[in-house]
């Protein structure tokens, strides 16, 4: 049986880049534990000799030419969506130090 601790939840939140309130940490701890208990029914499933499936129609390595295609979307139109820009670049907060 999987019962998550508060520390587990806070670690997950940090990995997922989500700031949680104390109340959220507790409610997610309980709810996630319940969901993990539900999915634990797969533990007993016999899958001997079977490989995992991630693509259901059998497509593999769909290739295309590596060339520029003009879809009529300008870089300026995309930059207009960004919260902050400078000299044609997206500006973000300080990363180091």
């Amino acid at each position: 049986m999987t019962e998550l601790t508060r520390e587990d939840v806070l670690k997950l939140a940090r990995l997922a880049r989500l700031e949680l309130t104390d109340e959220e940490a507790e409610s997610f701890r309980a709810e996630l534990s319940e969901v993990l208990q539900y999915v634990a029914q797969l533990d007993d499933a016999d899958v001997s000799g079977l490989a995992p499936t991630s693509q259901v129609t059998g497509l593999t390595n769909v290739m295309r030419e590596d060339e520029v295609v003009d879809y009529g979307i300008s870089p300026a139109a995309l930059l207009r969506l960004a919260p902050k820009t400078q000299d044609g670049h997206i500006k973000v907060k300080r990363m180091i130090g």
Binding site: L4, D8, V9, L12, A13, R14, L15, A16, R17, L18, E19, L20, E24, F28, E31, L32, E34, V35, L36, Y38, V39, A40, Q41, L42, D43, A45, V47, L50, A51, P52, T53, S54, Q55, V56, T57, L59, V62, R64, V69, Y71, G72, I73, A77, L78, L81, A82, P83, K84, I90, V92, K93, R94, M95
Partner: protein, 472 residues
Amino acid sequence: MSWLPIADIAAQVQAGKLKAVDLVEQALATIADKADYQAIIATTADRARERAANIDKAVTEGKNAGRLAGVPFIAKDNFLTFGAQTTAASNILKGFEAPYQASAVERLEAEGAICVAKANLDAFAHGSSTENSDFMTTRNPHDKTRVPGGSSGGSAASVVLELAPFALGTDTGGSIRLPASFTGCVGYKPTYGLVSRSGVVAMASSTDVIGPLTCTVDDAALVLDVMAGRDPLDSTTIDRDDHSYADLAADLKGKKIGVIREYMGEGLSGDVRPHIQAAIDKLKAAGAEITDVSLPSLPLALAVYYIICPAEVSSNLSRYDGQRYAYSDPDASNLEESFSKTRAKGFGNEAKRRIMIGTYVLSSGYYDAYYRKAQTVRTKLIREFEAAFQQVDFLLGPTAPSTAFKIGENAHDPLQMYLTDIMTVAVNLAGVPAISIPAGVTDGLPVGLQLIGRQRADRALLGAAKATEKLL
């Protein structure tokens, strides 16, 4: 006033008997009139009127205005469109104006269809009721105290409220079929990859599909035919048939239909069972061979889905980081804080819950036990579908275990809400096509019948559905 069949609308617009501008005004007036159902997030009125005028002009000039000339439609708000914001009913995308349109929308427009509005959904399509929308809950057209189903609840309600002749939805675990069942319309989930997902907000990429919600099977088939086929912008798309998906042979004589034993068990409500049984009897009388079929791993499908779906959700939603577009928290002092504060304020509870579960099942040390195991049980399930389709042409069962539930009834129990999808998720895991069609009404609430076909046998499935629709 209700809408004509879609092919008839287009034919009359082309013949000059109906004006696209009038059809758009009719749609917009009905949307305003039915606003209290909260099916619509925003209209694309200006752009729709302009497109309608252009289509009418083309007709006057003797040009071909397309197979969907002047037909208004409503897109679930996780389709990128011009003319209104695209929000996925989430706070984090509030205010986002798409720089390009979804391929599916482009294909519909190329044939003369006109998008008039964006429909409500559970935020990021996470849910079965629209109660997870960050904005509002859509009301069931048959009872305002009940949910319309989800996540394409706004789209389904739009069709039933006659806001437009058709609506677009997405189906990752049942999100087209479930609301079709709860509101009493037709909901079609195509074979995985048949319709391009370029320009649709991604949820779980190994199961996401796009499909129509309509009044009739013929309408669904026509809309599918316009959207279907390979798209260089979505490398998961498959080749379409050369033959039209709208050319349906509605004959059941000699067809073998397997009733799924696992879907007819104890969990099925007494409100639903009699209608499914009545449909089976009518199919038999119409010459179909009915057999009982078992897919023993079906009871595991929901557990498989609630590992695979959150895992893919947590990956797909990592792009919402507040740097390139959409909401960005203004109070962060560094980049790391900018990510975590933006996501804390921008995502609702269900998105956070799925991100957390997904992060857990993909994390080092748990990946094999959860994600890999789920993907392997998925293989087992696919084999069982393949074996079933060796014996029968189609599978049949209810779409949902119950009729529409009350608003708030499941809102505080995520696991109970997940159980709503118990009869729809397996289809997504196997990538096969399925349809929900109205099969009756209990206490004023619609019941949906689900038919499932072989992968890529979309036309055959739609034909069987059309024949079944005539019987019910």
